[in-house]
């Protein structure tokens, strides 16, 4: 390699300068490409869409490869000491820059904005937070989110556990798990349509096309608009959708955990005469407690941020609004940057305990 021979400072400098050329050029290509791709989409209505898509993909993916290759080439032209110092930052730098711009700085900016008025021009102290925690509409929002967290999480965990235990003893394990898992591939908007159709309501005189109302009227009861005027129960009909979607997730994790329990322990307790139910509560549950906590945490965070389902099904009307839909409404419907940001900050504060827990776990790792 070039750095193996002793070189004069001037030669080193010239080599570094030449070595930086590809990097400079590729950076220029990336920046120019950015504006080119942007203008292609904004201005040129007559360019075929597929062409734009292809150019955009080549720019995005090729740009990343080009950037890393040229940056590394540059680093390798430097004296060995500098190569070693610089190279780690070539590897982690782009990711860190992206994280800083897309997550770290925005979080700080949102926290700052939450102390300012709706246009962001005037400092208002804690006024936005006072509104968020005292306004009656917001209190309904928090109540709904609590319903989501409590019922969404507990039912998803319970159903996932049930299916995992049953499937573990069944000959149709793979098929059953695939069917339960399948909704994971479906978007919340798609799931919203699926369940809107289950909940569909027609006038009393017409035949019901929604399954739930067909069953209800079949028993002689009146058809119901399940997700609309049926407060506060409509929230539960929305929560069902997420249970349906997420049970597959909890099932997969529980299933793996159950298979991890040593067979000897189960066999030994069976020999000792324990019933299957005793085995489940006294042997299995304690063994998979770690997984239960992990899954519950993930689903709590998930339901805390729930947006799509509520937005598509009810738009947050009929007292079904949640933190995330209210955030969207405050910012985009009422143009209230201050309160919108304050609501986002509340979400952020709510996940801090989990963040701290994750960091603690990380600090105990020996790899670092």
């Amino acid at each position: 390699m070039s750095a193996s021979k002793p070189q004069s400072k001037v030669a080193q400098f010239i080599q570094a300068l030449i070595g930086s050329l590809p990097l400079v050029i590729s950076l220029a290509v990336l920046v120019l490409g950015f504006f080119y791709v942007r203008d292609l989409q904004v201005n040129n209505k007559d360019v075929p869409q597929m062409v734009i898509v292809l150019i955009a993909i080549i720019w995005g993916v090729g740009g990343v490869v080009l950037l890393f290759t040229t940056a590394n080439f540059f680093a390798e032209q430097l004296p060995v000491k500098w190569t070693q110092r610089l190279q780690p930052f070539i590897f982690i730098g782009p990711a860190l820059l992206m994280l800083t711009w897309a997550l770290v700085l925005p979080t700080i900016r949102t926290i700052i904005a939450s102390f300012f008025n709706e246009s962001g021009a005037k400092f208002v102290g804690l006024k936005n937070f006072v509104y968020v925690f005292t306004n009656p509409a917001m209190l309904t929002v928090f109540r709904n989110n609590m319903l989501w967290i409590v019922f969404g999480t507990s039912f998803t965990v319970a159903a996932g556990l049930l299916v995992a235990v049953l499937a573990d003893r069944s000959r149709f394990e793979t098929a059953a798990k695939t069917l339960i898992f399948l909704p994971m591939a479906i978007s919340f908007v798609g799931a919203g349509v699926i369940w809107n159709f289950v909940y569909a309501v027609k006038p009393v005189s017409a035949p019901q096309i929604g399954l739930l109302n067909a069953i209800t009227t079949g028993f002689g009861a009146q058809p119901q608009a399940w997700t609309a005027f049926f407060t506060p129960w409509n929230n539960f009909f929305l929560i069902v959708i997420v249970i349906w979607l997420q049970t597959g997730y909890s099932m997969v994790l529980f299933s793996a955990a159950i298979k991890g329990i040593p067979q000897e322990i189960l066999e030994a307790s069976r020999v000792d005469g324990a019933t299957e139910i005793q085995i489940f509560f006294w042997i299995m549950l304690p063994q998979i407690m770690g997984t239960i906590i992990a899954v519950s945490t993930t689903i709590v965070i998930f339901t805390l941020k729930i947006f799509d389902v509520v937005w598509v099904m009810t738009g947050g009307q009929y007292d079904t609004s949640v933190i995330s839909t209210e955030f969207y409404r405050q910012y985009f419907t009422y143009n209230n940057n201050g309160i919108g940001s304050a609501i986002a900050v509340v979400l952020f504060i709510a996940v801090i305990p989990v963040m701290v827990y994750n960091l603690r776990q990380f600090a105990q790792r020996e790899a670092f």
């Binding site: 990711a95 897309a102 059953a176 919340f188 908007v189 994790l253 947006f307 738009g315």
Partner: protein, 362 residues
Amino acid sequence: MKKSKFVNSFLVNGSLAIICLLWTIPTLGLLISSFRDRLDINSSGWWTIFPHKDWVEIQKITPGPEINRDQAMTMAGITATFEKFAEGIQKDGKQYIWIGNRRIGYLEVDEYKWTANTTFTLENYKQVLAGGNYTATLKDGTKVTSGGDNMSRAFLNSIAVAVPSTVIPIALAAFAAYGFAWMRFPGRKMLFALVVGLLVVPLQVALIPLLRDYVALHVNGTFLAVWLAHTGFGLPLATYLLFNYISELPRDIMEAAFVDGASHFTIFRQLVLPLSVPALASFAIFQFLWVWNDYLVALIFIGASPTNQLVTQRLAEIVGSRGQDWHLLTAGAFITMILPLIVFFSLQRFFVRGLLAGSVKG
């Protein structure tokens, strides 16, 4: 002993079957409906495609112009007013019902017997994909015209958004994961702690400031905006997962390569990347499904621009503006699902592995 085993297995498989059925029926109902005629969807439940007993038309009596519809009429041996006929009259196990209005309607004679609604069509898919206007003729002869939707464009848009939004974060994260795993540099632990901390940050916190940057850069409403956002939001998990995998690669292989004088870049390209294919694939599937199914990020950064909207946005818009057009909704929903389902079924193994590897998504 043998008997109780049989009962046990019956209970296990039976309850499992019921749960599976419950989980499948909603999707199945929508899938079946998407192939039914638009008028059928709105007038009978999808389960009527299965054999059931119902009133079936056996005869159609068109009254001549001489019959005065404003007073009692005698048709098919029954004398009744128009209003009575319109409500339907049952006699001798048959039902006589007036279809359409007073002037140009007709009398339908029904019999109660076994039947199944088995007319299927691809028309709904055509209408929701190709746009344009479509006319349907109702039972009484009136015609209704309504627009379709241009979901084929949205489908391409979704591909255009999902592919780079999957590949770019993986590329960035793979480099970063290698850097964290096999290089020593000051601040390494702290910077990785930052990645771990960002795992659970709700993306809502970042949306408004990012939107402001996009408006300033004039990229708001373009795919570019969505790629960059998804890249940023996907990076913590991608880096974390890939780090876990790459740092566990056998130390002796790596050290042998270093001793041979290979540079980090060469080792990364020729050794680490090929060895990490399972982890890369797991995350790729995860991120692809996440981006394809995302609605919030698209809603905020693409917004109302109709040429750039994604499938989830189009579908949500049909729900909002034409929530009773079930022929569009059912077919449209399946168009949004088809690609994720293909990915899911063909690569389920990797997807499950990805889920097991990282159960914290921000």
